[in-house]
Every structure is written in structure tokens, then in C-alpha cells.
Symmetry: none
Subunit: 161 residues, 2 copies
Amino acid sequence: MSSLTHAIEIYLTELLNESDAPESMLSIRRKELAKTFGCVPSQINYVLRSRFTQEQGYIVESHRGGHGYIKIERIKQDTSENRIEHLEKIVGETISWQDAHRYLSALQKRGLITARERLLIEVALRHCDELGVSLFDLSPHKRETIQAELLKRTLRSIMLA
Amino acid sequence: MSSLTHAIEIYLTELLNESDAPESMLSIRRKELAKTFGCVPSQINYVLRSRFTQEQGYIVESHRGGHGYIKIERIKQDTSENRIEHLEKIVGETISWQDAHRYLSALQKRGLITARERLLIEVALRHCDELGVSLFDLSPHKRETIQAELLKRTLRSIMLA
DNA sequence: ACCAAAAGGTCAAAAATAGTCAATTATGAA
DNA sequence: TTCATAATTGACTATTTTTGACCTTTTGGT
């Protein structure tokens, strides 16, 4: 009926819900979890890869070796969906340096990112752009595509965080 | 339930925090410490090698023979000049993704950057790296050079801010 | 100077975990 | 039915921790 993957997903989200803060955390042993579901350990990796991505509002960390573990943290907030949708629409496929700069200023003014975060993003955008020019001689359009992509990725990541 | 290594790490950082000058120092006997944790002495070396490296902001010195000791000192990083100097030294000309990740974790642990800032930098590094691979088919070495440069630029910018 | 005792260091093996990748199988939509 | 996508599996790889045997340095007595 329901797939193994789905069952494991349910199991993990239940655990996350137990302590009902909007953001919560859990820690497991890959081997044990696999055993309780009677599957191979790498199945757990599949579940994590397909159901607990950052896009879906989770951060997963792990440690190998003795006392290894996998830690899943939920970071999603209710309003983040909306903001991200808005982000996609505003930024679009390409964006000029000036527009990116303006947009970041606006976000900062609204308190959605800090000055340091804005600085980080701007430095990264510039670096990428410089590489595009000096190393590969890309067209302005191509560079603006790359910039837009980087801008969206970085903003998405911290809006979820 | 957590590992021996981790327990010893906690124990030592607690000791370091006790006298909470920005730079603090401590001195131990390897054999004694090993005894209080019920492990072999070389375990202590492992803890030092894996948790108290320069990258993580510590300097470790020791002396053999009668009256031997191990001294752990937290590197002073009170001014932005200090931090940037350390940054240049640690990152160098090239850096692997793994090392960058480790270094950023250490910075976050020390409270020098926030989780969001770390996330931003990691996303930017990845984006750059992906471009390097998929768009230009750069050599791993070249990509590690670009990564190191981006890492240094972003960190410098917020350390000064 | 020499030697023994008292530190600490190194290195490699073994054990305990987790990750990756590609082949295979199941499922669902057109 | 057929094809694309999702799920499952397992062989192989990578990383981290723990342990112990053997090595080096320093000190202090004779």
C-alpha cells in the first residue's frame, strides 16, 4: 500500500512533531532505523535525499565512525513559502548587478536579511561575475543568468533557515 | 551515549571557559586525563588532533619527560586584523569543499559567524563549483583555487563589517 | 657521562558508522 | 502497453573513533 520510503518519512516527521516547537530536531542511527524497518541502510539515505532536503525545510547533518549519527532539523516556517514564491517572481531568469543591489537593499531595509548577509551575497555575486568576465569571457546575458541563479539560491537558503 | 572523544572535548572546553578571558589557557597531564576518562593515553592525542587544531582556533604545546605536560591555548582573535590574518593563513591558495565546510563550522562554533551566514557562504561556494564543473569543465585544482578566493573574500568582508 | 624512570608522540590496525553509485524492480500516467 | 519516474538493493567506498605496541625526549640520580 504505502511505500517503505513513505512509511519512514511518516515515522520521522512524527518524531519531529513530538516536541511541538515549529523547529525541532532529532538524531538517529542509520543502521538501527534500517533495522526497525527491515531494509538496507542505504534506503535511509534515499529517504533523506528525497524527503528531507533543504528545499523542503530541513537540514540534515551526519557523522560516520564510532557513535555516528544522522541529525535532522526542521527549519521551515509558515510564511517562508510565500516569501520564496515572491523571490522567484521578482528575480526572474536574469538580473543586473544594479537590480540585485537594489533588491538586497530593500530586503535589508525590511529586516529580512542583515547587513552582513547582504554583504556576503554581494561579494559572492561579484566574484562569480568577475570569473565570468576574466576567465571565460561570457556574454553579459549569460552572466546575468548566473547571477540570478546564485541570488535565488542564496536567498532561498536563508529564508528557509 | 556520545563518544568518548566528544566527552573529552567538552571537558576541556569547559575548563578553558572557566577563566573567561578572551584568550585562555590550560595545562594537563596526558596520563591523568586519560585515567579520569578510563582510556588509553593516545586517545588524548586523538582528541587534540581532531578537535583542538589551529584551524579551530587553538594552539597546543607539550613537553615530555619528568614534569611533562600538555598546554592548550585559545588563539586570541579580538580584533578584525587578527581574524583576517588567521583566515589568510588557514585557507591558503586552494581549499577543498570538505575543508571549507569544516572551517566554517569551526567559525560558527566560535560565534564568529551565524548559521545563516555560514549557509550563505556554503551555497555560494557550491554554486561557483557547479559552474566550474558543468559549464567550463575546470580541473579540480582550479576549482579549489576559485573556492579559496571566494571563501576568503566573503569572510574578509564580514569580518571587517 | 650513563642509566633508569617518567613523561609524551606516532602509527597502524580494527571496529563502528555513514555515503555513493549503479543495477534492478515497481508504479503510475499517457 | 509503454515509457518515465520512483523505490529498492547491495557491493564498494570513506570517515571517525578506539586501542595498543613501539619510539623519543627530558629529568634526576650515581
